[in-house]
């Protein structure tokens, strides 16, 4: 592994390796700054600077080991978290994606046709491969239009109408293009914008150019956009131009809006009812499933912990099957069982008692189905950790308790359970945090449904994370990225608060700092 090189040789090797890298970096840096991609430029410079520092500096030696991992951690966790917090203070969403400059450019390029519309017939000349020129026929006399958009007088060019039918056949000897030949130049023609009396001419049909006027004119001094047809002034406000009646002229731009998104989750009727409902169920869901699954897991662990029980190793390996399967597959299978029409459960119920249960289409049953499914998915984990903890409780304690006359129930509540909780409590908190955000289960089983309120996106089994997912990626009102980002921050605060408080009550933190 060690290269047969002296210290000088190694330095030389480093320089040889870094040289091309730095040269390449300079090349791309120039390219990026020319494109104006400042974010990427900063990233490139930091990255390459970092590599140089790591390779050449002696003091950075430990960092050489940490840098590769840190790079990904920074890029895909730290930067997204920071960016997410930033987004949550903006109005970034469908209709507010562009910058103000882009919005102005977009709106001022909007056009309208004057009444009555003005249309100029035209002829095009050349071959299907090369467009030579066009002749426009306004009322005041024909004009030449070159393919690059320049207008020119016709003088000095030969426009010949040999058969005298009023339609010229050649221009400077180039034949007139008709039908499919003309269509070959469609995209060139379509791209033409010819300045004309305060507006422009552009292709309106395959035979005519039309005269159009800009709909809006931007007045930078007063920061208003004036509608040229109506004279209405649209004033720049937060994230867009607004009419005197306060209506937004679509599209708006994205901008800083402060804590508005957060406030909307608590005060805006379009969100706060959904938020409250989703939050309550989210907490119920996490608490209920963790408690139930721990209860079942613990019960089975106690059952299997009995050394007199034959086959207990065999039982254990069968009982952890749900844990050994990819959860997404199990959940999709359970969803099939719960299907109202063809699912296993309703078939059995129909055959035996002649009833049907609306498993996934009523809120109560949808929640019930989720809890049953999650119980199936997670009890093996609880069983395994409980088994481990049970085995670490010294047997003498039970002997002593027995001698003192404690019954099985008393032994469980006074010895087993308290000792168990010491090692398991941190894991339960971890489970709680995981379940609180278990998007996959909710999404694959119910998609957050059923609908409980017309017009609200939050369904009866949505948790905060799936609600955020809906806001961001599947909105009826477009993509509400900023609201979803704000919800992400709120979820983080909730989970941190709950697990932080519980961690403080256990000794987990101390143990962690001993580990360092």
């Amino acid at each position: 592994m060690r290269l047969p090189l002296g210290a000088t040789g190694r330095t030389l090797l480093k320089v040889l390796l870094l040289g091309p890298l730095d040269a390449g970096a300079v090349y791309f840096a120039v390219l990026l700054s020319w494109q104006g991609s400042w974010g990427f430029l900063a990233f490139l410079l930091l990255g390459v600077g970092g590599i140089n520092f790591l390779t050449l500096s002696r003091r950075s030696y430990p960092l050489r080991y940490l840098a590769p991992g840190l790079f990904f951690l920074l890029l895909m966790v730290v930067v997204p978290v920071g960016y997410n917090i930033y987004l949550s203070f903006t109005n970034y969403s469908t209709g507010h994606i562009l910058t103000k400059q882009e919005v102005i450019r977009l709106l001022t390029s909007r056009e309208y046709a004057p009444t009555p519309p003005m249309r100029f017939p035209f002829h095009a000349f050349g071959t299907p491969d090369e467009l030579y020129g066009l002749v426009l026929l306004p009322e005041e006399g024909p004009r030449l239009l070159w393919p690059d958009g320049r207008l020119a007088p016709l003088e000095g060019h030969r426009l010949e109408d040999e058969d005298g039918d009023g339609v010229p056949e050649t221009l400077d000897g180039h034949p007139r293009l008709v039908g499919r030949q003309l269509l070959a130049h469609y995209s060139t023609l379509q791209a033409l914008r010819v300045p004309w009396e305060g507006g422009w001419l552009r292709l309106a049909t395959l035979r005519e150019f039309g005269y159009f006027l800009p709909q809006f004119r931007y007045d930078p001094a007063r920061d208003v956009l004036v509608d040229q047809r109506t004279g209405v002034e649209y004033r720049a406000g937060t994230g867009g131009f607004y009419s005197p009646e306060g209506e937004l002229l679509e599209p708006g731009w994205y901008t800083w809006v402060g804590v508005k998104n957060y406030l909307r989750f608590f005060f805006d009727p379009a969100y706060h009812r959904a938020f409250g409902r989703v939050f309550l169920w989210n907490v119920e869901w996490a608490v209920l499933t963790v408690v139930l699954s721990f209860a079942l897991g613990l019960a089975l662990a106690i059952l299997l912990n009995d050394r007199g029980l034959k086959l207990r190793k065999f039982y254990r390996s069968l009982l952890i099957v749900p844990y050994a399967l990819p959860a997404f597959i199990s959940v999709l299978v359970w969803r099939g069982f719960f299907n109202t029409h063809v699912g296993l459960f309703n078939q059995l119920l129909r055959n035996w008692v002649g009833i049907e249960v609306p498993w996934l289409s009523e809120v109560f049953w949808a929640r019930f189905s989720l809890i049953v499914t999650n119980l199936w998915l997670t009890y093996p984990y609880m069983m395994l950790v409980s088994l481990g903890a049970l085995q670490s409780i010294p047997g003498e304690l039970y002997e002593a308790a027995k001698i003192d006359g404690a019954g099985p129930w008393k032994r469980f509540t006074r010895i087993t359970f308290p000792l168990l909780m010491i090692s398991i409590a941190p894991l339960l908190i971890g489970s709680f945090a995981f379940t609180f955000n278990n998007f996959t289960l909710i999404w694959l089983l119910t998609e957050g449904g059923p609908v409980v309120e017309i017009g609200s996106r939050a369904g009866g089994t949505d948790i905060l994370l799936s609600y955020a997912y809906k806001l961001a990626f599947q909105g009826a009102r477009g993509n509400e990225y900023a609201m979803a980002a704000a919800l992400g921050v709120i979820i983080f605060l909730i989970v941190t608060l709950i697990s932080g408080l519980s961690f403080l009550r256990t000794k987990a933190l101390e143990e962690i700092s001993r580990g360092m």
């Binding site: 960092l63 080991y65 997204p80 050994a324 063809v342 950790v385």
Partner: protein, 278 residues
């Protein structure tokens, strides 16, 4: 006597709860019927028809391969990155070491999925400059997965490295090896069990990941991972694709099941040990 019977009875009851979905799906996958599910576990006339349909009419092979590829590459890289970092934290003493460890732990408390909007935007921006690494590509998905896997695993491996006696490396260092050579030749071979466990746990986690994959792999169905592909295949189609889905579920779960049982004891100790086992 009765007590013991009761215990076995309870155990079998729990086993029935654990296994009935598995057995039922296994049976369905060999059942020729597709439209209406039966309540029989063992089909009357078992066939391999569903499996044949799965391979000929669906893009299942691509999905499975994509999942294995993405999970395999991500797990391999994340094990290498974490081993390097864990070695530095375990063996070197440098300024900012404690702070670094604590930061790692805190950063890890923010699940990556909460920043999904930002991740989406970043991949969208990357796509403009490097189309092969941006949104809608497997390298892009791997990039996201790698970031999310660093914190916890570095901690986990550091704990294991701390238990390997230093004397082993010290003699190598005295003989003129560099710390990196000591890491490669001495620590890594000794740490093989923990590397395997972290690899498998990560592999299973990436293989099963749905949320991030669902918005990163937007586009043609050919690039889906199994989680995304199976979801779109069966969603809204429980009435007419149940049989063929069952075949896909069996094949999709098989690999993970085999790996899990092969390394059962190590994986369980890894998974249940949790963050605070140092």
């Amino acid at each position: 006597m009765w007590k013991r019977l009761l215990r076995h009875g309870l155990a079998w009851l729990a086993i029935a709860f654990a296994l009935f979905p598995v057995l039922f799906v296994l049976g369905t996958s060999f059942n020729p019927a597709n439209s209406v599910s039966t309540t029989r576990i063992v089909p009357a006339r078992p066939t391999l028809g569903q499996y044949r349909t799965l391979f000929s009419e669906y893009e299942f092979p691509s999905w499975l391969w994509n999942s294995v590829k993405v999970a395999g590459v991500s797990a391999t890289l994340s094990v290498s990155l974490c081993a390097l970092g864990a070695y530095a934290f375990s063996r070197f003493r440098f300024r900012g070491r404690r702070a670094g460890l604590l930061t790692l732990l805190l950063v890890q408390m923010f699940p990556q999925t909460l920043a999904m909007v930002a991740i989406y935007m970043i991949l969208l921006a990357i796509k403009e400059h490097l189309p092969w690494l941006g949104l809608g590509t497997h390298p892009g998905l791997i990039l996201v997965y790698l970031g999310g896997a660093i914190g916890f695993n570095t901690w986990f491996m550091k704990g294991y490295f701390d238990t390997i006696p230093r004397s082993l490396e010290e003699s190598a260092l005295v003989d003129g090896a560099t710390p990196f050579q000591a890491f490669l030749r001495i620590i890594l071979p000794l740490a093989r069990p923990i590397l395997a466990v972290v690899f498998v746990i990560q592999f299973v986690a990436f293989y099963s990941e749905y949320l991030i994959a669902s918005f990163v792999l937007k586009g043609e169905s050919k690039i889906y991972t199994l989680a995304v592909g199976l979801y779109y295949m069966i969603d809204e189609h429980y009435t007419d694709r149940w049989g063929v889905f069952a075949a896909g579920a069996v094949l999709g779960a098989l690999l993970i099941l085999v790996v899990f049982y092969a390394l059962q004891s190590q994986i369980i100790s890894g998974l249940t040990g949790g963050a605070v086992k140092e």
